[in-house]
């Protein structure tokens, strides 16, 4: 039997779900963000495998031991990988174009997500000539501290 095509396209309901949250940072991440206000990047260290974590982990994800040892880590690091984004997604914090980066901060054992900025990002080819794997970057502090990740305004490229 041939399929009967309905004359009308079924309607769609336009809906929005909005839910408020109060998400606890916990003592560990609270301390990290309080330190950012003082322009310090604090990591935690596992006493078993000795790895240093930023973002700080209250416990080592591999050893499952408490990471109760805090260490101040470097404000410079090496580019592990990066991505140039020029698309706006719903709910995205940063306005495109921006450069997402994974930085290996000096004195840590993991990659840290942030952004590279401080120069004209409008032309990808110019960006590509400047941003290199293994290149060095340095923290630029936001003069206005709010106790969130943007107290580190961005990472700037270190010439050399």
């Amino acid at each position: 039997m041939a399929e009967v095509k309905p004359k009308e396209k079924p309607r769609e309901l336009i809906a929005q779900v909005s839910v408020p949250y109060e998400m606890a940072l916990g003592r560990n991440w609270h301390r990290f963000f309080e330190s950012l206000k003082e322009e310090k990047i604090m990591g935690t260290q596992c006493r078993t495998c000795n790895r240093v974590f930023v973002p700080p982990r209250s416990f080592c994800p591999r050893c499952f031991e408490d990471n109760d040892q805090w260490v101040e880590v470097g404000q410079e690091g090496t580019i592990e990988t990066w991505c140039y984004s020029n698309l706006m997604f719903y709910g995205q914090t940063l306005k495109p174009p921006f450069i997402a980066v994974q930085v290996h901060l000096d004195g840590t054992d993991v990659g840290f997500q942030h952004r590279i900025a401080g120069f004209d990002l409008s032309d990808f080819e110019k960006v590509r000539a400047l941003v290199k794997f293994g290149g060095r970057v340095r923290v630029v502090w936001n003069p206005e501290k709010k106790g969130n990740i943007f107290d580190i305004d961005y990472f700037e490229l270190v010439p050399g």
Binding site: F33, P55, T81, W82, S85, L87, A100, V101, V110, Q113
Partner: protein
């Protein structure tokens, strides 16, 4: 391994924008086909496993309640499992464990997504934590691009060569999708089209990226006794592997991707596979991004680390190659996420039972299916074969 388990029926919807049906109706469409394919009725099912993306995608929480009737679950035990993109493999594994334990003979596994109804990338950003990773995420393309860049850098892969290989993957899969009656994106693409498509997140271009799709997939799993009784050609599950990594992206090396590597190794061990490139006849690799697909080839031992582009350009993974990958067109052409990983298993099962139609790999006897989920965090692999 527990007791033997077989795939005895599969069902897929036509994938694409399906605003002709409500969400439960879409789910029923896949379930109905799977039941007919298996030759069973809803009352035969002893348990149901289901899963989707996070509820933010659906707009309705706990969809296993919303879909209760479509899933034939009324009066039966039901489990919901989700692991983002790898949900389809997670629910298949959950159903497998249920039957392999000997506690059920017939279990229905159903994955679904109606991505045109929600906002895929907005949902994806809620998979990241709100403090450290979310502010810098540019949807899924951003995460996968970082990974592809790291991989190219680590193995000194020339950008032009990777670009060329990614374009060939795009062309091959788009061609394959034309042979797949369920596929969403059915367009003829040339190498030049792929190489010159608009940039999403450099070097990833539009034709390197999967679409968002509405669709559902259902699979019927049976015990050995049941399968032998009611199914002429079961696809036997030969091995399952699933691994996760640390939550934060920077805490593991995504260019060699431990979870993908170890999930495959675990499944190979059970299936007795030592040389996957030689022993497997076909693979349904979860491939929302062409560049990422090349990383999977290496993790699964299809070729040495850093050599994927060489093998791709030699045609190793094309339809006529040594190991055809994604003859369905894969996730690159069809991506209802909660269903996508299960579609890989359904396609693999059809391949080893000779029921893949125009996309059949001649004489396929052993197939790999796979899915990836989270912020590059989870990988699941299921191997199916024609022989018990």
């Amino acid at each position: 391994m527990g007791k033997a388990v077989a795939v005895i029926g599969t069902g897929q919807t036509r994938h694409g924008r399906r605003n002709d049906v409500s969400y439960p109706e879409l789910v029923r469409e896949a379930v109905k086909v799977a039941l007919i394919d298996a030759g069973i009725t809803p009352k035969d099912i002893e348990g149901v496993v289901t899963g989707t993306m996070p509820s933010m995608m659906e707009g309705v929480s706990d969809t296993h309640f919303y879909f209760a009737d479509a899933l034939c679950e009324v009066g039966k035990p039901v489990l919901k499992v989700e692991s983002c993109g790898s949900t389809g493999q997670s629910i298949a594994h959950c159903g497998y464990y249920w039957v392999a334990s000997g506690l059920a003979d017939l279990v229905l596994v159903v994955g679904m997504e109606k991505m045109f109804e929600g906002d895929g990338q907005a949902t994806m950003t809620t998979v990241a934590d709100p403090w450290f990773m979310k502010p810098f995420s540019a949807g899924a393309p951003g995460v996968f691009t970082m990974q592809a860049m790291e991989w190219m850098h680590r193995f000194n892969i020339p950008e032009d060569q990777a670009r060329e290989a990614a374009a060939l993957i795009s062309v091959t899969h788009h061609d394959s999708a034309l042979d797949n009656p369920y596929a969403h994106i059915k367009i003829k693409v040339s190498i030049e089209d792929a190489k010159n498509a608009p940039i999403i997140t450099y070097p990833v271009r539009l034709l390197d990226v999967c679409p968002t799709s509405d669709g559902a997939c259902a699979v019927v799993l049976a015990s050995e006794e049941k399968a032998k009784k009611i199914c002429k050609k079961p696809a036997w599950i030969k091995g399952v592997g699933f691994r996760g990594e640390e939550f934060f992206l920077g805490e593991s090396n995504k260019s060699i991707w431990p979870s993908a590597t170890e999930a495959a190794q675990h499944a190979y061990q059970q299936a007795g596979i030592k040389n996957p490139l030689k022993e497997l006849d076909v693979a349904e690799v979860y491939n929302p991004f062409t560049y990422q697909e090349m990383i999977f080839y290496e993790c699964f031992g299809f070729c040495p680390r850093g050599k994927s582009p060489d093998y791709v350009l030699k045609g190793t993974f094309s339809m006529a190659g040594a190991l055809p990958c994604d003859p369905s067109g894969g996730v690159l052409c069809t991506n209802p996420i909660g269903a996508s990983g299960l579609i890989r298993l359904a396609e693999a099962a059809r391949q080893v039972t000779g029921k893949a139609g125009a996309r059949q790999v001649e004489g396929a006897k052993l197939a790999l299916s796979h899915a990836m989920g989270g912020i590059d965090q989870f990988n699941g692999v299921t191997i199916v074969g024609a022989k018990l």
